[in-house]
Symmetry: C2
Subunit: 322 residues, 2 copies
């Protein structure tokens, strides 16, 4: 059976799986990225893992290629460049090295763009030509599809919407040192920062007055909002308003038919997604109103990243019919 | 000889011309849009004008189709919808009507998108796959090309970057009632508004203290800046900063190789374009720096709109080689 290797390189885990033409993950596993600070050893570990997965398969498989999702990836250069979450510094030519080792078609792309491809081929965007995936995790990632194709940009760095400056250069700093970057507001980290801001701004009683910033977790903020904690409720409202305004801005750019929101923060339908929808509609120009859907991912959480990475190869095999 | 009719529908003038495969405008003329408040009579005038242009041609011509650029145009519906600058109200199905009259392929698109197509086929973007045209006239228009194709959006309204909210919902109102819309700052009108703002904010002596808002014109502000008028200089700097920040934001979206700036305001290289370039570079993420060009249009000013409109038809004839 023909399969594609899907690899998701994250700061904590590297997930690897074998994906068939229907987008099903046949076998998968992971290892700790940080255990392999030497690039060569990391690549050895990837090789070994692929071989193990192949042997685990019940039916014999033929590898068609390797698709990789990673942060700070340049799809055109096949490199990971200056990724602050990863252990290897500088520019890592991962596609070139893996291709030398296995002589298989190998492709790399930004993790959020890969998520968008996964939705296009196997998820909730199978019949769409224009949509945007937004990943709300520790950061704010995005993958943009227009005219049925992922937008790559001049040298493969398009779709960094988390770094849009939403405050005319006068706002919170992001990890990249960008002032007013959207990600500094709308992400798990951004929500924590907003809880701090609300503690400073308001005098409401709150459980968060006795919890330090570093001990604060996203799920706890949701739970506090459910229990009526005013600081948590105000923090979510502030976040949802910025998200909704940002989504309305994105509509004026590529006019997507839908946003697919994923990542931990997007689980908060009641406190984040629904209010963001209202703020978005309120900000949309007349001819955009009522036309944009906010959707969840159509893929299993445990498989989405691997399946998306494999889509980089499967898209060349006519899986897509746009 | 094969030619395409290019029509540019503006609030003041309707320009019509015949364009050959090399993008040359063989014949052209215009009439006053406002003289024809009844749609049928306006379309009659278009018909008559086309016939006159054909008769003026030295060699016999064959019409391949009609391309139209207009404000508030939906390319997918072939309609002009609620254009505040035009005399006809509501939804105007102009493509359907013209096609019934002449049985020729007829296409319509947003005027700034059409300008982008013109640059792609015949202007300064002939070898580019990713660029953005920004028109800085009375308003702020934009046409986005990514992966070698114009971005249309879900129902043809993509690329309304002038309506991006750049102030988190807390800024100047645009003509569309959008709060904080980029166009309210970066356009000929925006610059005039900024002169008023600077007169309020600063106490510098200025020629503009004795000129009323309605008597103020863009060229005069450039002239005043040249002569050292501090209010004019501060107004340009304020505008250039917002333009530069906005362009940097656009880069994080589709990562264009170039912006092509056109329209009256873009003539101000010294006071607007050059400072905007500096502000843009300062705002760009590290992996975008030094890669984005700011260009002028590659088409003659008197022909650009007609040539762009005709590109809507010529693009189907393999003029483009991307």
């Amino acid at each position: 059976m023909d399969v594609v290797v899907g690899i998701d390189i994250g700061g904590t885990k590297t997930k690897i799986g074998l994906v068939n033409k229907q987008g099903q993950v046949l076998e998968q596993t992971y290892f700790r990225t940080r255990h392999y600070p030497i690039l060569e050893e990391y690549l050895d570990q990837i090789d070994t893992t692929i071989d193990i997965l192949i042997r685990q398969c019940v039916t014999p498989v033929e590898l068609l290629g390797i698709g990789i999702g990673a942060p700070n990836a340049s799809s055109k250069n096949g490199t990971i460049e200056h990724a602050s979450n990863l252990v290897w510094k500088g520019i890592v030519p991962i596609v070139e090295i893996l291709q030398q080792r296995r002589a298989l078609p190998t492709k790399l792309m930004n993790d959020a763009s890969v998520a968008a491809l996964g939705e296009l081929l196997f998820g909730n965007a199978q019949n769409m030509t224009d949509f945007i995936v937004v990943t709300l995790g520790t950061g704010f990632g995005s993958g943009i599809v227009a005219n049925g194709k992922l937008i790559d940009g001049y040298d493969g760095f398009a779709g960094e919407l988390g770094h849009l400056d939403i405050t005319l250069g006068d706002g919170r700093l992001t990890g990249q040192g960008v002032s007013g970057g959207l990600e500094a507001y709308v992400s798990a980290t951004g929500l924590k920062r907003t809880v701090m801001y609300m503690l400073a701004y308001h005098m409401d009683d709150s459980r968060f007055r006795s919890i330090a910033y570093t001990d604060l977790h996203g799920e706890e903020i949701t739970q506090a909002a459910d229990e009526g904690d005013l600081i948590a409720i105000k923090a979510f409202d502030y976040t949802a308003k910025i998200l909704g305004t940002a989504l309305a801005n994105f509509v004026a750019f590529t006019q997507p038919q839908a946003f697919i929101l994923m990542g931990g923060l997007a689980d908060s339908q009641k406190w984040l997604v629904e209010p963001a929808r209202k703020y978005m509609e309120a900000s949309l120009l007349p001819f955009y109103k009522g036309k944009v859907q906010l959707l969840s991912s159509g893929l299993k959480k445990s498989e989405a990243a691997i399946c998306g990475a494999a889509s980089l190869i499967w898209q060349d095999y006519g899986v897509m019919e746009v």
